[in-house]
């Protein structure tokens, strides 16, 4: 007989009520072994509150969180690695000492040398941890999260505030951790990050999950069109007079269509230069806009 393994993490009808506001409003999902699960949404959607309840650092108002089929307990704290969005560390300690401190809190440990190498902290290992750049700090926090060689890793907005290069380096790091077979829960408001790293995403808005599934499947389900992007100045005359619906985003306009040839013909017939035209597939940003009617980064 086949006994199904319980999911690594399972969330059932989770609610967090703050004074007058429901930060998390009945959220349920589960994460399988080895999966990278992305919790997406704009700032204030309830991602961090959800994750903190899953980490056991914020008590839920109602609902439950299960780790391998059991409520969170000593086993979870031994086996989980957590990177908080913002964390103060003990002052006056170097990077190496900070890592040594955290590894000592666990029975299962990763050698400090290995953590330093994995997270590319060699250059700063003897530096006071208050004197790190944003990217170095995020790598240190990740190294701390890996100190117990965790079975499940929580990353809460790990790349917020990083420059693009540091962000890409961080993604490479997370991909190599994923390749080791660890279960990862990632929250982010960068849809690109989720698309790049996650096997499954759940999109949150106003405390609820509004869509869940593998990113490519979600896009297929919701869209059968592509987006044509043009600089706004290339459209002659008024936007509202144009015979096709145009979406203005900053200094660009977007045309959504399943009939690319037809759209191109209309553009040509109106004398729109196509030299700077870009055609892109639909992405998770579009999906969020489609589902909520609002842009993500507002």
């Amino acid at each position: 007989m086949h006994i199904p393994m319980p999911p690594v993490l399972e969330v059932r009808n989770l609610v967090k009520q703050y004074d007058g506001a429901r930060a998390v409003d009945g959220v349920s999902f589960s994460i399988a072994e080895g999966q990278c699960f992305g919790l997406l949404g704009p700032n204030g959607a309830g991602k961090t509150t959800t994750v903190e309840m899953m980490e056991g650092v914020t008590p839920p108002t109602s609902g439950e969180v299960l780790y391998r089929g059991a409520p969170l307990g000593a086993r979870f704290r031994e086996e989980a690695g957590i990177q908080f969005q913002k964390t103060a560390l003990q002052e006056f300690l170097t990077v190496r000492e900070t890592l040594a401190f955290f590894t000592r809190l666990y029975q299962r440990r990763r050698p400090v040398e290995e953590l330093i190498r994995t997270c590319a902290l060699e250059q700063v290992e003897d530096r006071d941890n208050r004197k790190l750049s944003g990217g170095q700090m995020q790598r240190l926090l990740l190294a701390i999260a890996l100190a117990n060689d965790p079975r499940v890793l929580f990353l809460d907005e790990p790349t917020t505030g990083l420059d693009p290069q540091a962000r890409h380096n961080f993604w490479d790091l997370v991909r190599s951790i994923k390749a080791e077979g660890r279960t990862v829960l990632l929250t982010t408001h960068y849809m690109e990050e989720a698309y790049f790293l996650c096997d499954v995403v759940a999109i949150m808005d106003r405390g609820q999950i509004i869509a869940e599934g593998p990113p490519s499947r979600l896009l297929q389900e919701h869209f059968d069109d592509v987006v044509l992007e043009l600089p706004r100045e290339d459209i002659p005359g008024g936007i509202s007079d144009f015979p096709m619906p145009l979406l203005v985003t900053g200094d660009r306009v977007e045309i959504s269509t399943a009939d690319v040839e037809g759209a191109l013909r209309v553009l040509l017939s109106h004398g729109v230069p196509l030299r700077r035209l870009r055609i892109r597939p639909r992405n998770l940003e579009d999906l969020f806009l489609e589902l909520t009617g609002r842009e993500l980064r507002t």
Binding site: G56, F84, T87, A88, L105
Partner: protein, 342 residues
């Protein structure tokens, strides 16, 4: 309870403290400067009056009729109860009283042969009357104010170090989110608390011991008792005060609030525990209230050792009280401990 985790938290906190130079320097320099200043100001200054304690038959006024010596001007005659005789003899030994005379039967007086004022007071006594008086010489070095003050200043420094060192640090950890980070690890509240208490205990007792040694070089002071006993008192007192600080910090998430609450408790302790002056003349209820405070108990014990050479058996009430307070404070702290700021 996992000692590995306790050790990790303890070790990290020790490193943090040792590297925070400003705090470290403040912990040494502040009391050192105070005691040296007081030694310079008060060291060996003579008092203006002779002080003579008198035991007299009940109901009889202290005047020249009882004994011609009592008619001497510029001498402060103080009647004491017969029951206080032994205690007053000790005061003669410490130069706190220049002469003690018992007039209940044939005059009998106690005099410290090392005391210049005692010598003069005795001259006055012998010249005032022709009759015989039995001489009871005692000896002992004078207790200067600095001898009395030194345990007080060391104790006060320990109190501030214990209350703020743990209280403020724990609140800072909570506010910054470091405690929340720790709550996601296997560390328990008890392990965390014990590590903080032990770290501060080690640091406070080490600083106080070094200070004691340094003071012994700069300002020769009196210690009639065992240094090991003093160490035991310091450990017991520090544990009680650190636990108190930890209890104060068990829930607060604002440094300002913690600062206010700790100030609110440390200032009365500084004034009521007899750091600067004895409460002997204060109303009874105030003395009773002061007795409850851990600093009072610690200073009483330390002065009993340093000034009177008290032994362990005589200190058991104070040590027991300090231990009981430690357990009570830690129990309350552990029950109400919060990891999160909100």
């Amino acid at each position: 309870m996992n000692f590995g985790r306790l050790f990790a938290v303890w070790h990290a906190r020790n490193l943090e403290f040792l590297r925070d130079r400003s705090t470290l320097v403040f912990n040494f320099l502040f009391p050192l400067a105070l005691v040296i200043a007081f030694a310079v100001i008060f060291g060996g200054q003579p008092q203006a009056l002779f002080k003579v304690d008198v035991v007299a038959p009940p109901g009889i006024v202290l005047d020249g009729a009882l004994h011609p010596f009592l008619a001497t001007r510029h001498v402060d005659f103080v009647r004491i109860e017969p029951g206080a005789l032994m205690e007053t003899i000790r005061k003669v030994e410490r130069h706190q009283v220049d002469l003690l005379i018992d007039l209940r039967a044939a005059p009998r007086y106690w005099i410290n042969e090392d005391s210049p004022k005692g010598y003069l007071a005795e001259k006055l006594l012998l010249e005032s009357a022709s009759g015989q008086a039995t001489r009871e010489p005692v000896s002992g070095a004078a207790v200067r104010y600095v001898d009395w003050l030194l345990p007080g200043v060391l104790g006060m420094n320990m109190m501030f170090s214990c209350l703020f060192g743990v209280g403020y640090v724990v609140v800072r950890y909570r506010k910054s989110g470091f405690l929340r980070r720790l709550s996601a690890t296997p560390v328990t509240a008890f392990e965390f608390g014990a590590a903080q208490v032990l770290s501060r205990l080690l640091l406070t007792v080490s600083v106080t011991s070094l200070l004691y040694g340094a003071l012994a070089l700069f300002v020769p002071f009196r210690n009639e008792g065992s240094v090991l006993l003093l160490l035991l008192i310091a450990v017991a007192g520090a544990l009680a005060m650190i636990s108190f600080g930890f209890m104060m910090a068990a829930r607060f998430a604002s440094e300002e609030l913690a600062n206010g609450a700790i100030n609110l408790t440390s200032w009365p302790m500084m004034l009521l525990s007899g750091v600067w002056f004895s409460l002997e003349g204060a109303p009874g209820w105030l003395q009773a209230a002061a007795k409850v405070l851990p600093l009072t108990q610690m200073l009483e014990a330390a002065r009993a050792v340093m000034l009177d050479g008290a032994g362990l058996a005589e200190l058991l009430p104070q040590l027991g009280w300090l231990a009981a307070m430690t357990l009570m404070f830690l129990g309350i702290a552990a029950a109400g401990f919060r990891w999160r700021a909100d």
